[in-house]
């Protein structure tokens, strides 16, 4: 009922015949539909083209796949340990040899692995701490609402983007060349990437901080550093902590593969056993890596929840 006076009104306003509005609407609708259809066809075409090109460029042909896939299963067969139940828990014999089929035999190099896993975790902790410190310092100038002036903002933003943009393993490769094989290269690479990734997140947290406490500190005569220390930091610290812990979990993973290019940690051993042997040692190391990652995730989650819980009840 209400449509009719409105239609009349709009037709009257445009001064044309009353049916015009409907016709215009229909034409517009048809046009929209047609343009959407064109877009869908274009998108589908682009997708098909991309798919075809991708298959061609990466030689992803059915015959290669057909010959490759069985080899995958074959490979996973070769890395399975040959464990025998009756000797599973046998220790070493008097002359120091392990009995084939026992866990001791499978994990002959167990203590080497443990040492490397320990090194991996230390690398991740150090890199996370250094990266977090840099990210913390840069997150204030890189926050649009806090930066003292626009060129400091621009420089710190671009710097963080650069640190985040370069893949860790690439950085590690360059560091290995510059300072030699060893965990230091890995620590540097992961720390730089962490500074970039966390710096961006921290800056976003800072941008969402309430400006009231900051205004309060401005009004008592505080300088820029005091505004950051008293007005911003207490607000954002719990968030920073959570992000840093999450980053630590990511860094444990990163540290476990950074050794592929010689930058220390369990990755070096993982690379060695996968590249030079195809036997049960591969699975032995892989299991330890997955175990390490899972345990670290669990611990980190507990710490995070514990901290946040304490924050809420304090």
């Amino acid at each position: 009922m209400t449509d009719i006076p409105m239609l009349g009104g709009s037709a009257g306003a445009s001064g044309g015949a009353p049916r015009d509005a409907v016709a215009v609407f229909e034409a517009h609708r048809a046009e929209l539909k047609a343009s959407r259809r064109v877009w869908n066809i274009v998108a589908l075409g682009a997708f098909t083209l991309a798919l075809g090109l991708s298959i061609w460029i990466s030689n992803f042909y059915p015959d290669r796949l057909a010959s490759g896939v069985p080899r995958i299963f074959e490979y996973f067969g070769t890395i399975m340990p040959d464990l025998q139940w009756d000797v599973l828990f046998e220790g070493r014999t008097e002359d120091g040899r392990a009995v084939p089929g026992s866990l001791t035999f499978w994990y002959t190099d167990f203590w080497t692995y443990v040492e490397l896993i320990w090194e991996t975790i230390l690398m991740a902790i150090t890199a996370t701490l250094i990266g977090t410190a840099v990210a913390f310092a840069l997150s204030f100038p890189a926050a649009a609402n806090l930066s003292p002036n626009s060129w400091i903002y621009w420089i710190s933003r671009r710097f963080l983007e650069f640190c985040r943009g370069v893949p860790e393993i690439l950085l590690a490769l360059l560091f290995v060349f510059m300072i030699g094989i060893g965990p230091l290269a890995g620590v540097m690479a992961v720390a730089i990437h962490t500074a970039g990734a966390l710096g961006k997140l921290f800056a976003e947290v800072n941008e969402n901080a309430s400006d009231r406490p900051i205004e309060g500190i401005t009004a008592v005569g505080g300088n820029w550093f005091e505004k950051m220390a008293y007005g911003v930091t207490p607000q954002v610290l719990p968030n920073f902590f959570s992000y840093a812990m999450l980053r630590f979990e990511i860094n444990v993973r990163a540290s476990s593969i950074i050794g592929f290019v010689g930058a220390g940690g369990i990755g070096q051993e993982l690379n060695r056993v996968i590249s030079f042997y195809s036997d049960d040692r591969v699975l032995a190391v892989l299991i330890l890596v997955v175990l390490m990652v899972t345990v670290i995730d669990l611990i980190s989650e507990r710490i995070r929840l514990g901290y946040i819980g304490r924050e809420n009840f304090a």
């Binding site: 991708s54 490759g68 080899r71 993982l270 996968i274 892989l286």
Partner: protein, 285 residues
């Protein structure tokens, strides 16, 4: 009662305030609790840097200079086999595209099988979930290395590595999206007497499709980025060119390739932001 100025405060007044409000004067314990964490972290970093032989960073100046020089001074540029480099880049993009596409297709199936409200059998769900956990627990680069051993050097290993690691992560995200849907719409479809596949098609898909699409787009972006480095373990793409020339000590060419990689990474970031905005805009139309 007017207040004395701070300069006029007497030791007696300080003593009184301390006696009535001891907590407000801070304690050694409080200071230790506040700064202890920071001090421990600083000490840890110093000790670990010593352990990791931090001094090497300072000794390395010659090699650093050599590398920096190679990054600026480019020689014999006509012999650099550019076709090879750009074929590597094309391969990288292709690997990411195919890997993500396969991962998405696989996750569509597994995601539904791992969702509580679709798969009623607890055991099946649990087995699938633990399997996904393992896929996720192993890094993409490790998968790359494993597949290089299994199917040989080249992009096929890279596609498979991306596929497998996406399967682990995307399936989990998909199944969570499916578990979070609005039940009423599903019941509405069921009430019409539709079979189980029709329920999925009309009850679930319309609700989860936008989430699926945005997740897959995001993964496509991040995979393109990681595909640039998969070649470092031999799994195809630009990373393979990079590591080859690195091993051959052609550092100026390495610098050129690294610059190309960075350009791709920043271009992908930009492009994917555009595509996501466009996709979201098209959805809300």
């Amino acid at each position: 009662m007017s207040m004395a100025s701070i300069a006029a405060i007497t030791p007696e007044q300080i003593a009184t305030a301390r006696a009535t409000h001891p907590g407000a004067f801070g304690s050694l314990g409080g200071q230790v609790r506040r700064w202890g964490w920071l001090a421990a972290a600083v000490v840890y970093v110093i000790v670990s840097m010593w352990y990791f032989d931090f001094g090497r960073l300072l000794d390395a100046s010659e090699r650093v200079l050599a590398l920096l020089r190679a990054f600026v001074v480019w020689e014999d540029m006509e012999t650099w086999q550019y076709a090879n480099i750009y074929r590597g880049i094309a391969q990288t993009l292709a690997m990411a595209f195919l890997g993500t596409l396969l991962g998405t297709i696989g996750s569509l199936v597994i995601g539904f099988l791992a969702a509580r409200n679709v798969m009623p059998i607890r055991l099946v769900r649990q087995v699938i979930r633990r399997f996904l956990d393992i896929l996720r627990g192993i890094d993409q680069l490790v998968w790359g290395l494993v597949f290089v051993r299994a199917v040989g050097l080249g992009p096929l290993a890279g596609v498979l590595a991306i596929f497998i690691s996406d399967l682990g992560t995307l399936s989990k995200l998909y199944s969570e999206a499916i578990e979070n849907i609005d039940r009423k719409q599903v019941e509405g479809v069921k009430a019409t007497g539709a079979g189980p596949l029709a329920v999925i098609r009309y009850g679930y898909i319309p609700q989860v499709l936008p989430v699926f699409i945005s997740q897959s787009l995001y993964f496509w972006e991040s995979n393109t980025r990681s595909a640039t480095i998969l070649g470092i373990v031999g799994a195809g793409g630009i990373g393979m060119i990079l590591i080859e020339r690195f091993r051959a000590s052609l550092y100026d060419q390495v610098a050129f390739v690294v610059l190309n990689v960075l350009v791709i990474i920043f271009a992908i970031d930009w492009l994917s932001k555009r595509i996501r905005l466009w996709a979201i805009g098209a959805k809300s139309e």
